[in-house]
Amino acid sequence: MQPIIIVRDLWFAYEKADYILKGVSFSITSGELIAIIGHNGSGKTTLVKHFNGLLKPTKGSVFINGIDTKQATVAELARNVGYVFQNPNHQIFADTVYEEVAFGPRNLGYDEERIHELVESSLQATGLDGTENTPPFALSMGARERLAIASIIAMDPKVLVFDEPTTGQDHKTCLEVMEIIRKCSKEGKTIVLISHDMELVAEWVNRVIVMADGVILLEGSTREAFSKQEVLKSAKLKPPQVIQAARKLGLQDIPLTVDELVTIISRDLT
């Protein structure tokens, strides 16, 4: 499989020499579901903003689907990379849900028929079908989060970036959002997820990139990452309770989910 995102020795600083990213390199293959985790200020969001050109490398390069981001505008890269911001209230502005979701595809220059298709399918995918004429501000917070996702999915990008999609949401919405993300992944979209919810990452994501202080500490499977205590400590990450419990109990295996721990314990007790 071809890498759809290539990051090559990326350095980034807003102001001279105060580097937030220090020589980051990795690639993401098409169709992967990957999470970027690390302490606040480790550079996760800064890194991911390079994928749609909101930030341009100070040194090094980023290639999206073969395009060098330094040569493309944000609007051009938006065709390939959809970015869902953390707070849906930072993007909602239209009079109706339909118009809100149609905004993105319209900016990409699609004709009304295609726009209609895209809007309807993304509303379906996010459980918002039927709300086309509702004013977005009348929706509950959870519904607004799904609306924000719908408006990006409607642009039909190959890559979807989610910046803290579940932070500040209630439990029900968290599950809904993760289901939507999983569905998108099954449809072949490449998904990059930033989250500081370690439980969520362990449960839903197989591959992670661990960052700390602007560098990548580890790139690998979630299980591998959570087994390396030193790495987690440097990235100031606290593993989910099931792993904390497994450590305390002296277990050999690293359970990533509730079910895994239950299986291990019940096996050991019988």
Partner: protein, 268 residues
């Protein structure tokens, strides 16, 4: 960089009482209006620059005044060529230096053209210097101690507090909408204005939300509970502050008096 943001440094200027800084600023502004003489105006501006150096913020100050560059150039051109149409100029005959069709550039024009941009720089630079060396809460306290009603000073402080918030929120919203393909660079004025709707709507919603929440937060801290209130911070003037206030006042009076004597105007 945020415009007119307070920059924390350890300098004499920073440590001055805000009231003496206000006095100094008013004196400089008053002097800038009293005279219309190129060397004097340049001198005033250089004085402001020296102050920024003493305040250890001259680099930031310079980069912020650089933003005025285009205004300065425009002022130079307009004043030198069209000063005769201004209400404030004394029109006397003058030697023509350059003739460009119907428009002529003469000596007097050149003098105006040099003076006016410096006046703009001084009028904006002096308050800018104050804002960059004084925390707004201190300015607020100073106003209260100068007998400005508390609610007025507090409201001013509150509004100022929103300025960085507005620019931060706007930047996030702008990025979020650009990520949806919003084109902000191209297009004529009408197109650009419409392009900003997806930025202004969420911004205004957020500001209204903040305002609403803030009023609740203020009330649960008993704001306005009583007609009076006590004050935690008290500013006191040091000897250097008094020196500045007195010398600023004398300087200003001197400028006004000289001007009334007819000194210090171009052509006069």
């Amino acid at each position: 960089m945020k415009f007119a943001k307070y920059i924390e440094r350890d300098s004499i200027v920073h440590r001055l009482d805000p009231r003496s800084k206000i006095a100094l600023c008013l004196a400089i502004i008053g002097a800038a209006f009293s005279f219309t003489y190129p060397l004097f105006m340049m001198g005033l501006f250089i004085f402001v620059l020296i102050l920024s150096f003493v305040a250890k913020i001259w680099r930031e100050f310079m980069s912020q005044t650089k933003l005025l560059f285009s205004v300065v150039i425009m002022a130079f051109v307009l004043w030198s060529l069209f000063y005769r149409w201004s209400l404030f100029t004394v029109v006397t005959s003058s030697r023509v230096i350059l003739q460009l069709g119907p428009i002529s550039l003469d000596e007097l024009g050149l003098l105006y053209g040099v003076t006016m941009p410096f006046r703009v720089l001084v009028l904006i630079g002096a308050p800018l210097l104050i804002f960059m060396t004084t925390a707004f809460s201190d300015l607020s306290t100073a106003l209260v101690q100068l007998r400005v009603p508390y609610k007025v000073a507090f409201t001013l402080g509150l509004s100022m507090r929103f300025v960085p918030t507005i620019s931060e929120e706007m930047e996030i919203i702008r990025q979020a909408q650009m990520a949806r393909g919003l084109e902000l660079e191209r297009g004529g004025i009408v197109k650009k204005a419409r392009a900003y709707v997806p930025i202004f709507v969420p911004l205004i919603v957020r500001l209204l939300e903040l305002a609403d929440r803030m009023s609740s937060a203020m009330e649960v801290r008993a704001f306005g509970a009583y007609p009076r209130r006590t004050f935690y911070k008290v500013l006191s003037m040091g000897s250097i502050d008094y020196v500045i206030v007195v010398s600023s006042s004398i300087f200003l009076l001197l400028c006004v008096w000289l001007r009334l004597q007819g000194i210090g105007t171009i052509g006069g």
